[in-house]
């Protein structure tokens, strides 16, 4: 068992630390991303990080990355955290969309999109969920119809799209054939967010802020080369994105700031609470889970560096992250009292964010279904949509509701 850096890793860490030491005065603060100035400052900072080799660590060199492993990525995350500067802005783009493009995109797509994505010049969003397709993602209804000249016409609606308000591109899952079973008639597209016919409308969240959006597509024209992967092969591309999403979330709990040290620090401010047996039991339970999460992520890294690919069990880390943070928010607010719920309090923000995070990136119930079936090998539930053409599903659903 070895958690120490190898000599090469130690050297890499020293290099990263030296770079941060030299450039940290250029870093913006960690304020909320609710105005253009703040966002632009973070874009520029991402560009700097990319130039310094601190963004796209695991990306292949030919696409501007460092061609290093997940452990080096974590070293960078740790050093960025220790330097007290913000990390990259476009977590969705770098963690999920870029890798999916690398896996499924054409050479033209890779050379057009990856560079500006990496440098923060063009931010990406994930246009998957719809009002009637979240957990049941393959039920998307947004239609893309190919025209005689090879271009596509896109119409429909996406929802809960994080950062669509300042994204340049989105990766969009659309239905291109409704006469085959639902997983088969899907295609993935790159959508320029400034195309004519796109409307982005901010959706406010529990905190009152609007970090996610509704996005409407009204006969938007997409070029023939906007398809990622094959026509009709969109589900495979979507699964790649979801795999990278698991990895991003599974290794990222601590970078959300959900860690034992921060929560303990908050309780430690209250001398009375530090001696209250009930508070201590709750804090001990929460910290046990968060410490487990830290070592869980080391395990994942250790397995990845031996060549494993992230499996569905990474979803358990998401469940624990959300549970630990929810419990911590409850405890901290119980100790601090109503002031913890002041609108500008960091705890109010966290408390408001977590109920949504329980659904984002796969709801807890869906994760438990998937893990139960894929990891434990338990039988799936009977389902009504298997093998049925998408166009006939509605009437089956109606019969189900009437029965």
């Amino acid at each position: 068992m070895d958690l120490n850096d190898t000599p090469e890793q130690a050297q890499f860490r020293a290099q990263v630390r030296a770079w941060l030491e030299e450039h940290k005065s250029e870093a913006p603060g960690r304020e909320r991303l609710d105005n253009d100035d703040a966002i632009n400052a973070r874009r520029r900072w991402q560009g700097k990080l990319a130039e310094g080799g601190l963004a796209g660590v695991t990306w292949p060199k030919e696409f501007g990355g460092q061609g290093l492993g997940p452990i080096e990525q974590v070293i960078v995350n740790q050093e960025i955290g220790a330097a007290g500067v913000p990390g990259i802005l476009d977590v969705i783009g770098l963690g999920m969309m870029g890798p999916a493009l690398i896996a499924h995109g054409t050479d033209e797509q890779k050379s057009r999109y990856l560079g500006p994505l990496l440098h923060g010049d063009e931010v990406w969003c994930q246009l998957f969920s719809e009002p009637a397709a979240g957990s049941d993602l393959a039920a998307v209804q947004t239609r893309a119809v190919q025209q005689d000249d090879g271009t596509w016409k896109l119409s429909g609606q996406k929802v809960w799209t994080t950062y669509a308000q300042f994204a340049s591109f989105g990766m969009l899952l659309a239905r291109t054939d409704a006469d085959v079973p639902k997983h088969k008639g899907l295609t993935m597209f790159v959508v320029p967010m400034d195309a004519e016919g796109i409307t982005v409308r901010g959706l406010r969240q529990i905190s009152g802020e609007a970090e996610f959006n509704e996005v409407f597509f009204d006969d938007v024209t997409l070029d023939a080369d906007a398809v990622v992967g094959s026509v009709g092969g969109g589900w495979g591309t979507a699964l790649t994105v979801l795999m990278f999403e698991r990895l991003t979330i599974g290794l990222g709990g601590e970078s959300f700031g959900y860690n034992a040290d921060r929560f303990t620090q908050a309780i430690a401010q209250d001398a009375h609470a530090t001696k209250d047996p009930d508070v201590r039991q709750r804090l001990g339970e929460i910290n046990t889970e968060l410490l487990a999460l830290r070592f869980q992520s080391y395990r994942v890294l250790s397995a990845l560096s031996q060549g494993a690919i992230p499996g569905p069990e990474a979803g358990l880390a998401k469940v624990t992250t959300v549970k630990g943070a929810i419990d911590a928010g409850e405890l901290i607010a119980d100790v601090l009292g109503p002031d913890a719920l002041a609108e500008d309090s960091e705890w109010a923000y966290m408390i408001s964010f977590l109920p949504g995070l329980k659904s984002a990136g796969g709801t807890e119930e869906i994760l438990r279904n998937t893990i139960g079936e894929r990891v434990l090998g338990l039988p799936p539930e009977p389902r009504l949509d298997k093998g049925v053409p998408f166009s006939e599903l509605r009437s089956i659903e109606k019969q189900g509701a009437a029965a």
Binding site: M1, R280, L293, R368, G372
Partner: protein, 371 residues
């Protein structure tokens, strides 16, 4: 970074699996609950070389890591094997640190030691204490008298009956904690037991010391053995969780109701995934305890306490869920699930209990935050 088991560890685990499966017999545990003899496996422990796992080679042991010992406890926990390692191994850590004269006998297993579970002070409780025989008020730690003898009572000592030596903390006149070794053959030592309590695989006794001759184990860190005991009990509990999950998943695939396998119902499926989640968390902190024992001693207290808490909760949950998944037969004497349940019920209340280990996780981290 490498958290995979080494080839040696895989071999150690497989050997343990083979050896323990030979001796584990749940039928004997059931009959021991009704007055039959508790299965004794010390010969096996000695034969496998486990008695000296945590004793350095210089003192006649095999000098393996805490995590290696945890791997063996995991295998023992899986099959509810009875063993005397929970008492013996922490005691040998203290003997080894002081190079106690007879350590080699204990490392070879020709003699057996038991650890006296005297609880280290915390940020709330400044004194060394012991778990009371009954109730919740802490009992005093044994005292190291001016003449070098030790007096005091220690209740619920794992593996004390039949042990040749007891090792644990006694507090001297100045309030300092000293680790002492007491040969049980000496005058002034009485061990009440075996005390059978709910789990017939567990050997328990109450120790009473009256001016018992003792040797101070200079060089032994008084706290370390306590946390070794926590980390080992955590490993044993984790092992039982593995079995409870495997058995429950198998049953959930075989049992049909309303024309479906019960494992296809979300209420059942999600509960089994919850065992998996807690099991994975427990394994992660077990790794942390093993790692910190070697490489980050200042974090060992929090890591071992977290391991105890995580594995203890996982075991509680798994033992109850195993029964629930099996429905009526799960609650039947002849089924194995009740034996796992009995083990979990007693385990969570030994060595200070899970509540105390959870409190210690909080206390250690609060102290670090204040520093």
């Amino acid at each position: 970074m490498n958290l995979e088991l080494t080839d040696e560890q895989v071999a150690l685990r497989e050997a343990a699996q083979g050896a323990l499966t030979r001796v584990a017999d749940l039928e004997v545990l059931r009959s021991a609950l009704e007055g039959g003899a508790r299965p004794e496996n010390w010969d096996l422990v000695a034969e496998q070389g486990w008695a000296g796992l945590l004793v350095s080679e210089a003192n006649g042991g095999v000098g393996l890591s805490l995590f290696d010992a945890q791997l063996i406890l995991i295998e023992a926990g899986k099959v509810l094997a009875s063993h005397e390692l929970l008492g013996h191994l922490p005691a040998t850590v203290a003997l080894d640190a002081a190079s106690y004269a007879g350590t080699a006998d204990y490392a070879e297993g020709t003699k057996r030691a038991a650890f006296l579970p005297v609880i280290p002070p915390s940020d709330l409780e400044p004194s060394w204490t012991t778990q009371p025989r009954g109730g919740s008020a802490p009992a005093p730690a044994p005292t190291l008298n001016a003449d070098g003898t030790v007096s005091g009572d220690v209740a619920w000592v794992i593996d004390a009956p039949g042990a040749d030596l007891l090792a644990g903390v006694a507090v001297d006149g100045s309030g300092a904690a000293k680790t002492v070794a007491i040969e049980t053959g000496a005058s002034g030592v009485s061990v009440e037991g075996p005390v059978l309590r709910y789990d017939s695989s567990r050997l328990l006794g109450h120790v009473s010391l009256t001016n018992a001759p003792a040797t101070v184990l200079e060089g032994a860190d008084p706290q370390r053995a306590w946390y070794v005991a926590q980390a080992l009990l955590a490993a044993e509990s984790y092992g039982a969780v593995e079995t409870a999950l495997t058995v429950s998943v198998e049953y959930a695939k075989e049992r049909f109701t309303f024309g479906r396998q019960i494992g296809s119902y979300q209420a059942v499926k999600h509960a089994l995934v919850e065992i998996l989640r807690q099991r994975e968390n427990a394994y992660a902190v077990l790794l942390y305890s093993g790692y910190s024992y070697e490489d980050k001693p200042e974090e060992f207290a929090v890591a071992a306490s977290a391991a105890r808490t995580a594995a203890g909760h996982a075991f509680d949950y798994a033992a109850r869920t195993q029964i629930a998944t099996h429905g009526g037969i799960g609650a039947t004497w002849e089924h194995d699930a009740p034996l796992y349940f009995r083990r979990s019920q007693l385990s969570r209340r030994l060595l200070g209990g899970i509540g105390a280990s959870t409190d210690r996780v909080a206390g250690e981290l609060l102290a670090a935050a204040a520093a």
